[in-house]
Symmetry: C2
Subunit: 467 residues, 2 copies
C-alpha cells in the first residue's frame, strides 16, 4: 500500500502516476528521425487534456513480434475457441438470420435485446444472483460497461480503489477519465479488508473523493486469486459504511475448476454493487457481448451513456448469443471449457514447479492466469525483449499497477496454447529467468539509468490481446 | 445565427444550452409519486459532472407509444431491410463461420480487421477518396467514431461548430463531453461559408477554443440538404485558415437519387478532415460497423481511445461485412436501396405538396429525411402527443438544435414505411397541423407557461430509433 503513496502528493490533476513522464511521452510523440511531434501532428495543440495521457505502450511493438508463430505467447487472454462446435454455431446463426434477420440486422434497443436480458438472468442465477431483466444493460463486451460506469461516475481527480495488481484494461479506462487509482493490498485470499478500510480512511482524510472500488473477486486477472467467502461480506460492508460503490467485474466466474460457482458479491447487496458479466470467456469474445447489472437509477444513466457512445449494441451479435443460449447446450460447453483450462492450468503450474524453483506463483482455481513473483532484483519489463528473442512472451507485472510497482512480477496465461506448448513456453521462460539471474550476479541489479528499461511510470493502453 | 447567441453568456461551464434546467431535470429525477430523487437514487451525489446533463428525453416515452403498429412512424431512421437478400446473407455468414470461425469469434485488432479496412478503401473510392488502410479505424457504428473523436478533442467548455439544424445523436455526444455547440446558419445549399467565417471570428474574439466543425455535407440529417460543390472548397479553406478540424459525417453519401456520388470533403484535404463512414445504411445497421478515416497522428489516438472503450470492434460483425462485400454484389444492393428510397422520397414530397400547402420543406436528393417548416406559431414538440393520438409520429425540430430553436420544424423520415404508409402518414400529419392551426387561431400561440410544453431547453439523449 505504501508504495503508491507518492501518487497522492501534488495538485488534483494532472495525476502523477497516470500521465507518463516526458521521457516516455517522447517515445511516442517523436518520430524515429528525431523530429518534434508537432511537425508530425498539426493537431497536437488541439487534443483534450485526457488525451495527453493516452500513449501507446512501449511493449506494444514487442507484442507485434510476439505474435509470430514461433513465439509461444503466455501473454494474451484469448479463449481457446477450438473447443467450440463451430458447425453447430454456423447452422444456428444461419437459421437465426433466415427467421429473424430483419430484427437481427436492424437498429435495436439501446439497453439491449429483451430476450437476451432474460437469458442473462439465467446465467447469473448460477452465481446466486436474483435480479430484474430491466436492470441489465447489454454492452459491447464488458470493457464497454467499464467505460460507461467510469464515464458516469468519474470527474478528473476522483479516486478509484482497485486491487493490487488490477486488470490492465480497467486501469486504462480509469486513466482515460483522469481518475486516480489507489491500489489496495491483496493477498492469496484477494483484497485485504483491513487494508481497504485503512486506505479509505486515509484517502478521505486527505480530502479525496472516492467513487468506487473496482474488483475482480473471482479468478482474478492477473493475480489468479479469489476473494475468500469470509472476506466478501466484509468488503461489501466496508464499502457500504463509507458510501462507496462496488464494481464487481466477473468474466471468469463460471470457469472454476472445482465444485459450484462462487456466489457473486452482488448477492450480498443489490443497491451497492454494479455487476459486470461477459460472454467472451463462456462463449466467444468476437461477438463483443457483455453486460452490466446495476441499481435501477444507475442503470438509467448507463443506458443514456451507451446510446451516446454507440446508439445501441449489435442486435446481430446479441441475437447470435441469444439463439445459441436457446438452442445449444451452453452449460455443457462451459464444462468443456472448464476441463480444458484446468488441464492447461495444471500444465503451467506443474512446469513452474519443476523448472522455476527460484520464483513463487499463485495457484488459480479458475480463470486464465498465474501471477509469478520473480527473485529480488529481476526487472520483468526489461527482461521481455530477451524473452521474445527466446520465443516466449508474457506480460510484465508493471502493466497491472497504476504506480510502477510489479517490477518483479509477470502474468502468465494458460488459456490459449495447448499443454505441450505451455510446458515448452515455461521451459523457455525459466531459461530466460535463469540467464537474467546469472547476469544480475555478474553485473548487479537494474536501475532507471542502467541497462534495460527503468521502472514503469504510467498506465499505458494495452494491446487488445492483453485482455 | 443570432438566435443562439445567448449560449455564450455566463461562465465557461456548466453550459447553459446543454444542461437542462431544474424543471426538466426534475422530470427525470423525480418519482411519479413526487419523492425527491435522492430517495430513489442513493448514488445521486456520486455522479460525474458530465452525468448531470444526461437526461432522458421527454419525448422518449412517447416514442414507446409510437412504436405500436397502428402508428405510422415518420420519426425513425431505420433502413428498409426488406430489400436485403436475407437468405444469401444467411448462407454467406454460415460459410464464413465454417471456414474462418476461429478468427471471427476471437478478439481482433483494436484498429479493425485489415481485410475490411482495404475493402473500405474501395467503398470510399466511389466518393473520390484516396487513402491508406492504415489510417482507418473500424468502430461500433459511426456513432462510436463520433464519440471517440469528441473524447480525444473536447475539454469541457470547448466549442464544436455545427450546422443548424444538426444530427441529434452528434449533439448528444457533444453534450456528454460538455462541449458548447455553436450552430452555423445553413440554407438549401448547406452550411453558409460567410456565416461560418463570421461565427469563428466572433467566437475567437470571445476567447473560445473551437475544436472542430461537425458537418453532414451530403443528404443531411435532418435537413435533407446537400452542401453545394461551390461551397465545399470554401468551407475547407475557412477551416484550414482558422486551424479548425473538419469532421465530415457521411452515412448517406452513396444513397443519392441521381447521377454520380458527390466527392467527399475529404478529397479536398487529407490533413484537415476526419471522415466518418458507415455500413448501417448501405448494408445493415444491426452489425454496428462504421469507420473513421483520420490524419495519421489522430488515427493513433483514435485506436488507443477505442481500445480503452471496447478493446476491439466485433470481429464477427466485421467479417460478416467483409465476406458480404467480397462475395455479394454490394453495389447492386446499394442501387436497390437508392431506387427504393427515391420512390419513398417522391411519395413524401408529393403528399406534402398536395396536403400541406401551409408549410415549406426541403427536397432531398438522397438520404432519408425531409425537414419541414410549419407556419409561424406552431410548436411541433407540443403538438407531438396529439399527433401520436392521431397515429402518426415525427421528431420535433428542437431535437436538432442545442439552443432551443427549431420549434416550428419537424423531421419526417421516408426510409422505413412503404409509399402507401408514407402517404397515409402525411395525410394524418397534415390533419394534425390543420387542427393545430385552428386551435392557434382560436386560442393564440403557445408560450413557455401556457398549454403544452415550453421550448426545449437542452439536448437530450435520443431514443435509438431517432438516428
Amino acid at each position: 500500500m505504501g508504495d503508491s503513496e507518492h501518487a497522492w502528493k501534488g495538485t488534483a490533476y494532472p495525476i502523477v502516476p497516470l500521465i507518463p513522464d516526458d521521457r516516455e511521452r517522447r517515445l511516442v510523440m517523436t518520430a524515429p528521425g528525431g523530429q518534434h511531434g508537432s511537425r508530425l501532428d498539426p493537431w497536437m495543440q488541439s487534443y483534450a487534456r485526457r488525451t495527453t495521457g493516452m500513449t501507446a505502450s512501449e511493449i506494444r511493438a514487442l507484442f507485434a513480434v510476439a505474435s509470430r508463430p514461433e513465439v509461444i505467447s503466455l501473454a494474451g487472454g484469448m479463449p481457446c475457441l477450438t473447443a467450440l462446435p463451430m458447425d453447430t454455431v454456423a447452422t444456428t446463426v444461419a437459421r437465426m438470420l433466415s427467421t429473424q434477420g430483419l430484427t437481427a440486422l436492424q437498429y435495436g434497443s439501446g439497453q439491449g435485446d429483451p430476450t437476451l436480458r432474460e437469458q442473462i438472468l439465467e446465467v447469473m442465477a448460477l452465481e446466486g444472483i436474483s435480479a430484474s431483466a430491466d436492470d441489465i444493460v447489454v454492452t459491447t463486451g464488458s470493457q464497454q460497461a467499464l467505460d460507461l460506469v467510469t464515464r458516469i461516475f468519474i470527474d478528473p481527480g476522483d479516486v478509484v480503489l482497485a486491487e493490487a495488481p488490477s486488470y490492465v484494461g480497467a486501469l486504462g479506462v480509469f486513466a482515460a477519465y483522469q481518475a486516480q487509482v489507489a491500489h489496495v493490498t491483496s493477498d492469496d485470499d484477494g483484497l485485504v479488508p483491513q487494508a481497504l478500510e485503512e486506505r479509505i480512511v486515509a484517502l478521505k482524510a486527505a480530502g479525496k473523493r472516492i467513487k468506487f472500488l473496482y474488483s475482480v473477486p473471482t479468478f482474478h486477472n492477473p493475480a489468479g486469486t479469489t476473494l475468500s467467502l469470509a472476506r466478501r461480506p466484509q468488503v461489501v460492508e466496508i464499502c457500504h459504511q463509507h458510501g462507496i460503490l462496488l464494481l464487481e467485474d466477473n468474466p471468469y466466474g463460471l470457469l472454476g475448476f472445482k465444485g459450484e460457482p462462487y456466489a457473486a458479491m452482488r448477492t450480498l447487496s443489490e443497491e451497492g454493487v454494479i455487476y459486470l458479466g461477459s460472454f467472451s470467456k463462456t462463449f466467444a469474445p468476437g461477438l463483443r457481448v457483455g453486460w452490466a447489472l446495476a441499481p435501477h437509477a444507475i442503470r438509467e444513466k448507463l443506458v443514456l451513456a451507451s446510446e451516446s457512445a454507440i446508439l445501441c449494441p449489435s442486435a446481430y451479435s446479441q441475437m447470435t448469443v441469444s439463439t445459441y443460449l436457446a438452442t445449444c447446450d451452453w452449460m455443457a460447453q462451459i464444462k468443456v471449457y472448464r476441463e480444458l483450462y484446468r488441464e492447461r492450468r495444471d500444465a503451467m503450474v506443474d512446469s513452474l514447479g519443476s523448472l522455476l524453483p527460484q520464483a513463487t506463483w499463485t495457484h488459480p482455481e479458475g480463470g486464465f492466469y498465474v501471477w509469478v513473483t520473480l527473485p529480488e532484483g529481476v526487472n520483468a519489463k526489461a527482461m521481455l525483449p530477451r524473452a521474445v528473442t527466446e520465443r516466449v512472451a508474457y506480460v510484465p507485472g508493471t502493466a497491472f499497477f497504476a504506480d510502477g510497482t510489479g517490477q518483479r512480477n509477470v502474468r502468465l496465461s494458460y488459456c490459449y496454447p495447448d499443454p505441450d506448448r505451455i510446458r515448452e513456453g515455461v521451459r523457455r521462460f525459466a531459461g530466460v529467468v535463469q540467464t537474467e539471474l546469472d547476469l544480475l550476479e555478474t553485473f548487479g541489479p537494474y536501475d532507471a539509468t542502467g541497462r534495460g528499461a527503468g521502472p514503469s511510470t504510467g498506465v499505458q493502453s494495452p494491446a487488445p490481446d492483453l485482455s
